[in-house]
């Protein structure tokens, strides 16, 4: 299987604190992965390193065989947990902003997706509810034709209707040519989407495996397994 991301013994320290401690993660093409764990476990740190926003302290990480940099940023589409859009923008401005920023941004696809997400192009960013904002951010990120999608807590603080829409659009954007890596602690809602899971706690991977195999072996859902492990 072709690998899109390979992290070997990856560590990240913030002063004395170990945010990531010798983490090994391999991501294959055409699969959906989950990094699951409590808050502060290192999930976001890993995604930020993969997205090229943070530098690792030790160890190796490559994406499509390259170290994080210009090239990897062009093939990685990253959904940050924070709000990364300017306050003065309308929805349509956000689309144009992404179009200018990323060569692989497909504005037609984004407009289609807005309809599905029930968002208006003329709406102001500041007037969007949290659920609508989540839908817009995801629309932007999934409308890029990337090789790797990194989604940090796409369902955090999102109402049930938005949640359904977000899950549907993640599935819609699935392609055999791309991989998706989702960080979440809301396992119940996303576990059916995942091929493979990593449990990350205090910067370490404490369990990993194929989701169906884990259900089979342990006779329980990933969500229950998670509760048992932590």
């Amino acid at each position: 299987m072709e690998q899109i991301l390979k992290a070997t013994q990856l560590s990240k320290y913030f002063y004395q604190k170990k945010a990531l401690d010798k983490v090994d993660i391999n991501i294959e093409k055409g699969k959906i992965y989950g990094i699951l764990g409590p808050n502060g476990g290192g999930k976001s740190t890993f995604l930020k390193i993969a997205a090229g926003l943070l530098k690792s302290s030790q160890g190796e990480i490559t994406i499509d065989n390259e170290k994080p940099g210009e090239y990897t940023k062009s093939i990685v589409s990253y959904l940050p947990e924070i709000n990364h859009l300017y306050k003065w923008m309308k929805v349509k401005d956000a689309l144009n902003f992404f179009k200018d920023l990323y060569a692989d941004f497909n504005i037609e696809r984004a407009k289609e997706s807005l309809k599905f997400m029930e968002l208006e192009e003329e709406e102001k960013i500041t007037s969007l509810s949290k659920g609508m904002m989540g839908r817009l951010k995801l629309t932007l990120v999934l409308s890029r034709k990337a090789k790797l999608y990194l989604l940090d807590e796409p369902l955090n603080g999102i109402d049930p209707i938005s949640r359904e829409k977000i899950i549907t659009s993640i599935l819609d954007s699935y392609s055999e040519k791309a991989s998706i890596l989702i960080c979440s602690h809301l396992i119940y809602y996303i576990e059916k989407l995942l091929d493979y899971v990593f449990f990350l706690s205090e910067g370490r991977i404490i369990l990993s495996g194929n989701a169906e195999d884990l259900r089979n072996k342990r006779g329980m859902s990933i969500d229950k397994l998670f509760q048992e492990v932590f």
């Binding site: 055409g30 549907t168 599935l171 699935y174 576990e191 059916k192 989407l193 995942l194 259900r215 859902s221």
Partner: protein, 126 residues
């Protein structure tokens, strides 16, 4: 479809497709939805559906027409053996459940008979 996340998803989908074939909701020779369509409808990982289709193909419950898609088998024999398989499973669940409650096999049979005759009585009234 509601899933029980404690059991592998692909096994649950396989069971439900088998059920649909036996009761005729999916007809012999009917085209199955594509992997992507199914994944979208059921909201599960496309690779899970892929695994379902591979398994159904291996069990000869479906067959693949090259470049056309996946179709439900037209062989009566396979469909009737599916029916057999599912009914055996229901019986097994019943027997195991009764045994757990402390019913002997004989007692289970008489309880079942009693139940069925009561059912019949009720139906005959209408």
């Amino acid at each position: 479809m509601e899933f029980n996340n404690n059991i592998p998803i692909y096994l649950q989908i396989i069971d439900s497709i088998k059920q649909d074939i036996v009761v005729g909701k999916l007809k012999a020779g009917q085209k199955m939805p594509s992997v992507r369509e199914s994944a979208g409808i059921l909201k599960v990982n496309p690779n899970t559906i892929q695994r379902v289709y591979q398994e159904l193909d291996r069990e000869k419950i479906t067959y693949i027409k090259r470049g056309m898609g996946t179709y439900v088998t037209e062989e009566e024999k396979i469909i009737s053996s599916l029916k057999e398989e599912i009914s055996q499973k229901i019986i097994l669940d019943f027997v195991e459940g009764m045994n757990k409650l402390g019913f002997s096999n004989k007692e289970s049979i008489s309880t079942l008979k009693e139940y069925l005759s009561k059912e019949e009585e009720i139906w005959n009234k209408y």
